[in-house]
């Protein structure tokens, strides 16, 4: 059987699904290969969906996609061991007709998305792992080899959407392995609670959701953040730190998650829940510097495999979907123009990425990984100082407010010399610019 | 869809309130029956367990308790009948025929349906054994009546209907099922769930004989041979008194010797979790759990097994579960009765030694 597809997409995460969908919709003969039992089966559950990226692919997705809650409130907390300080932003403006952000459960969402892919006409094969790329004598990628009997399949172009480890590209020498400094390991749990309990606990309506983003001493000095999202009948909690830090600090991720869940600010939010589904997953956090070569003769890389994640805003799936779509559009254009799928033609994909928010945002935050990595006190000293400051101010104990202010300033200065403080501010501001 | 136990529960809220309106033709169906399951002269103990349970139901309804015995000719039935009386039967329906000597679906189903149609019981209980399940499905389908399979609890409701409770979704849920408007109300019941009644020596009752109208030439399935287990070295896990099992925590195939050593000292059977079978470290018939054997031993020792729900449902009927696991948070500690947080590779040999010593000392003392 030597049938040749127009395109093969490796992986059925958000990037692969977006790519396969757009190509199939345009009438291309697409084969999508997924290692898991079904799309979503290998994916960490519970996440934020950014509507915009999906809307550009499936405009009316809200009609039947399995969405949990739209987000009306964002809390940003900095924790020390006992307390949290932070800000909340809640607005009724988020209760719009077409909300902008939703919580989703990836296992369900990906499954739905993949169903759309199939209905668009792509052939989806699951429980099949792509082991390597097949190249012709000139080195052009012409198909893939899988772990099934008679497992070779051929295509004009292969899109690698196989996630953060990008094993297929590594193995085929198209990309270097990810380094421990450029990936975070995130662990996550789902805590099940009755819907009404969640709604009263977070003070939200039936469809409304809350996101809590957390930094501070919960990561015991490592570069990382924690989060809590409300789903319909469950709460997703998780924490992630750079892999290099985990190794260096000899801390187990499960231990961190326990610590986070038992923090006095978090514990009451989870009380009485039934825990299911502990999962661990890598997140690319190397930023722009970690982005590999994105295309070549007969191939392109999209999504996490291309390291497209904005760690600061925890955006990944939107970049994945957008890169998947842009890759698909590149193939469709080339096909229409009757051009071969060679590097010079596929370079249009990179161009499109550069014009999109994907590369622009990665560019904006390109310095951040390094800054955070070299300034661990962001995760140790500052949370403690902030919390002390707040406590000092709020405790009514006969001391005058002015003395209290002085005390606070002093505590900051004694921990970080004034030069250090200013330097920190500067570094951080620059990294965000 | 399908299976009353599952989605009907969700969809059938309206049915839950359904009333009993027993059609006229079923009004004279009376009495509680238990199939006395006998193969090659041996009665399956579940039959006695069911007589014990059936006695309670019959008393509650104020009716008689009958045993139904299908058997080949021979002395075994005389003894079985005596025992049935001692375990609480008021009478025994006996069908004796060479065609019933070994179990086959066709003659057994014909015999059983004929008995039911002639003597009209309101409740018919069978063990959820291979025989019971093979037979009950045919009988219920032929009689077009309801059958609740694999029950763990029986009761009579306020209207006098049988309320049969059974696990569903691999034990995550229980459901109570009624056959309101058809007779007999049939149920198969898991072995080792109902208590074994005390035998009352000297208790007697009536025997009602009924004959089978069938010839060997009518029966299409032929028995070529019977290979007893003793000759086949097949695991007798399901009925073992004590079971010792190992999981992936044992790490290497060689380490399963620690499991068999302990089993040997205890005269126990041994088993394992599914991944162990998948690795090829133990044969499939040793697998315990949802897709393996369900066991109900008096003592179950699980070493290096995490306690996933699929494993759990296969061992939950054990009287005592002792778990050995290095991880204090392993789920197995949630349903084990006793636990040792420790390395199975060290604990197992120590347990073997401790039991060996204990049993030897007692032997000397005794």
């Amino acid at each position: 059987m030597s049938e040749t597809f127009d395109a093969i997409v490796i992986g059925a995460g958000p990037s692969g699904n977006a790519c396969a969908y757009v190509m199939a919709k345009a009438g291309l003969n697409v084969l999508q290969i997924e290692r898991g039992e079904y799309s979503g089966s290998k994916n960490v559950q519970g996440a934020i969906l950014y509507a915009d990226a999906l809307e550009r692919i499936i405009p009316d997705f809200r009609e039947d996609a399995p969405l949990e809650r739209h987000i009306v409130e964002q809390r940003m907390w900095i924790l020390d061991d006992k307390a949290h300080v932070g800000g909340h932003y809640r607005s009724d403006a988020f209760n719009e007709e077409k909300p902008n952000r939703y919580t989703i459960i990836r296992a369900q969402f990906d499954k739905w998305f993949n169903r759309q892919v199939r209905e668009a006409g792509a052939l989806v094969v699951c429980e099949t792992t792509v082991t390597e790329l097949i190249k012709d004598a000139k080195g052009k990628v012409i198909g893939v080899r899988t772990d099934r009997d008679e497992g070779e399949v051929y295509a004009d172009v292969v899109v690698m959407a196989d996630g953060v480890n990008a094993l297929v590209a590594n193995r085929s020498g198209l990309k270097k392995e990810v380094t421990p400094e450029s990936v975070a390991l995130a662990v996550k749990e789902m805590h099940f609670l009755p819907q009404d309990v969640i709604e009263s606990r977070f003070n939200i309506g039936e469809e409304e959701g809350v996101v809590i983003e957390v930094a501070g001493s919960v990561t015991v000095g490592m570069v990382g953040t924690a989060f809590l999202y409300t789903n319909k009948e469950s709460i997703a909690v998780g924490i992630g730190c750079l892999v290099s830090d985990f190794t260096e600090a000899q801390v187990r991720p499960a231990f961190l998650l326990e610590k986070f869940k038992n923090h006095p600010s978090i514990k009451p939010l989870l009380a009485g829940s039934e825990v299911k589904e502990y999962a661990a997953h890598l997140i690319p956090e190397g930023g722009l510097n970690a982005v590999p070569q994105l295309f070549g003769d007969g191939w392109m890389i999209v999504g996490d495999a291309a390291q497209f994640v904005n760690a600061v805003h925890r955006e990944g799936s939107n970049m994945a979907m957008t890169s998947g779509r842009l890759a698909a559009e590149t193939v469709i254009e080339a096909k229409k123009a009757g051009k071969p799928m060679i590097a010079s033609v596929l370079s249009a994909y990179k161009k499109a990425l550069e014009d999109s928010f994907v590369i622009k945002d990665l560019h904006k935050y390109r310095r951040l990984p390094k800054v955070l990595h070299n300034n661990k006190h962001f995760f140790t000293d500052y949370p403690r100082l902030l919390s002390q400051a707040a406590e000092t101010m709020l405790r009514v104990d006969g001391e005058d407010k002015r003395s209290k202010e002085k005390k606070i300033t002093k505590s900051f200065r004694s921990t970080r010399r004034i030069g250090g403080l200013i330097g920190d501010m500067f570094n951080l501001a620059r990294a965000f610019r | 869809m399908s299976d009353k136990a599952a989605p009907a529960a969700a969809a059938g809220g309206s049915r839950a309130g359904m009333k009993k309106e027993l059609p006229e033709r079923f009004r004279d169906y009376k009495h509680v029956w238990v199939l006395i399951e006998m193969e090659r002269g041996v009665v399956h103990p579940v039959s006695w367990e069911l007589l014990g349970e059936g006695r309670k139901l019959a008393d509650k309804l104020g009716v008689e308790l009958a045993g139904a015995l299908l058997a080949g000719p021979g002395d075994a039935s005389t003894k079985a009948i005596e025992e049935a009386f001692s375990y609480g039967a008021d009478l025994v329906y006996l069908m004796e025929d060479p065609l019933l000597a070994d179990y086959r679906n066709q003659p057994y189903a014909a015999a059983m349906t004929d008995l039911v149609n002639t003597f009209k019981p309101e409740i018919l209980l069978m063990g959820a054994t291979n025989l019971g399940r093979d037979l009950a499905g045919t009988v219920a389908t032929t009689l077009a009546t309801g059958l609740t399979a694999d029950c763990t609890e029986l009761a009579i409701d306020h209207e006098g209907s049988l309320a049969a409770t059974r696990p569903t979704f691999g034990g995550t849920l229980l459901c109570t099922i009624h056959t309101l408007n058809f007779r007999p109300q049939m149920a198969t019941i898991r072995p080792r769930v109902m208590a074994m009644p005390e035998a009352q020596e000297g208790r007697t009752g009536r025997v009602v004989r009924h004959s089978l109208v069938m010839a060997e030439s009518d029966i299409i399935t032929k028995i070529l041979d019977f290979i007893p287990d003793a000759n086949m070295d097949k695991a007798q896990l399901a009925y073992a008194d004590i079971v010792v099992a190992g999981g992936m925590g044992l790490g290497r195939p060689e380490n399963f010797k620690l499991v068999t050593d302990l089993a040997q000292v205890l005269g126990a059977e041994y088993g394992c979790s599914r991944p162990v079978v998948q690795k090829g470290w133990m044969p499939a018939e040793r697998q315990i759990g949802q897709t393996g054997k369900t066991i109900r031993p008096r003592l179950y020792i699980a070493a290096g097994i995490s306690g996933a729900i699929q494993h759990r449902v296969g061992v939950e009927g054990s009287d005592i579960v002792l778990a050995i696991n290095t991880d204090p948070n392993a789920t197995i500690f949630e349903f084990a009765h006793m636990g040792i947080v420790g390395d199975a590779l060290q604990i197992l040999p120590a347990l073997t030694e401790a039991f060996r010593r204990r049993l030897a000392v007692n032997r000397l003392a005794g």
Partner: protein
């Protein structure tokens, strides 16, 4: 050989949760699988087909989603698939299920007589083991349940010889086709379909029967109305309040820990101790 294998799509029981308050099933995100027991029967059917030729049709009754299970079975190697789906089937108990399936099998047999029907030993959600015998009874098929191995299939003489697990041993049975077989777990290992197979499975149209297409005229024999059993109550088992009693292991020699464990066991089950000692004394 024309073989029909009945498979059921079931929720993966590992992932089912019970709502803590309402005691109803939380289906949210629970993945479905092919009932694991059915895979042993599917593999046995495929082996027979490979041996003597013919084709294997997988049949399922369920919601439209159950198509996934059929495609998976085709990827493994089944030749054809039939989906029996209709709102009239909702809430069927085993009696109604076996009725609908037997009607569909009769319909399939119109194209070519069915020689063998395979069912799983039991499902993991319903867990009744009654649908197979129900089908056999309705279609007048000779019934072979709990088969541990198929010894021989003589296509010409239309005879099959199997080993069937029974109490205390194995029966060697020989019967005539057509018959209904359920395979014992562990009796074989399901194969992994080849790439051409899974590609075909993804593309091939699946034949869908509603009640009428399956030749069912009287829909009151289906679904809730056709089910003599009534589910009155569904509830979660009482969780065991007490967790395992842990044997003290802090800084103690293993032998002490083991002795404590033995003590604890015998204290909880004195009769077990007597029996064991008795047995040891006899040995």
């Amino acid at each position: 050989m024309n073989i029909v294998v009945c498979i059921k799509q079931v929720p993966d029981s590992a992932q089912i949760r019970v709502h803590p308050v309402t005691n109803t099933i939380m289906r949210q995100g629970v993945p479905t699988i092919i009932n694991p027991y059915d895979l042993y029967s599917l593999e046995a059917a495929l082996q027979l087909r490979d041996q003597v030729g013919g084709k294997v049709t997988v049949l399922t009754m369920g919601p439209p989603m159950a198509e996934d299970a059929l495609r998976k079975a085709m990827g493994i190697g089944a030749d054809k698939a039939v989906l029996l789906t209709d709102r009239f089937f909702a809430g069927s108990d085993t009696l109604a299920t076996s009725y609908a399936l037997s009607m569909a099998i009769t319909k399939i047999a119109e194209d070519e007589p069915v020689d063998l029907v395979f069912c799983g030993k039991q499902t993991i959600d319903g867990d009744t083991a009654q649908v197979g015998p129900g089908i056999a009874c309705r279609l007048g098929l000779n019934q072979l349940t709990y088969v541990s191995s198929i010894e021989a299939l003589d296509a010409k003489a239309r005879e099959i010889t199997v080993q069937r697990r029974s109490e205390g041993g194995v029966q060697v049975l020989k019967t005539k086709l057509p018959c209904m077989v359920t395979m014992l777990e562990g009796s074989n290992t399901i194969r992994r379909g080849s790439m051409p197979n899974v590609l075909r499975a993804g593309r091939e149209p699946i034949k869908t029967f509603n009640a009428a297409a399956a030749g069912i005229e009287d829909v009151t024999r289906c679904g809730l109305r056709g089910s003599p059993t009534v589910v009155k109550k569904v509830f979660a088992p009482k969780p065991r309040a007490d967790k395992a009693k842990l044997i003290d292991t802090t800084n103690r020699p293993t032998s002490d820990i083991a002795n404590d464990a033995v003590e604890a066991i015998f204290a909880a089950a004195p009769k077990l101790q007597t029996d064991l000692v008795g047995r040891a004394a006899q040995a």
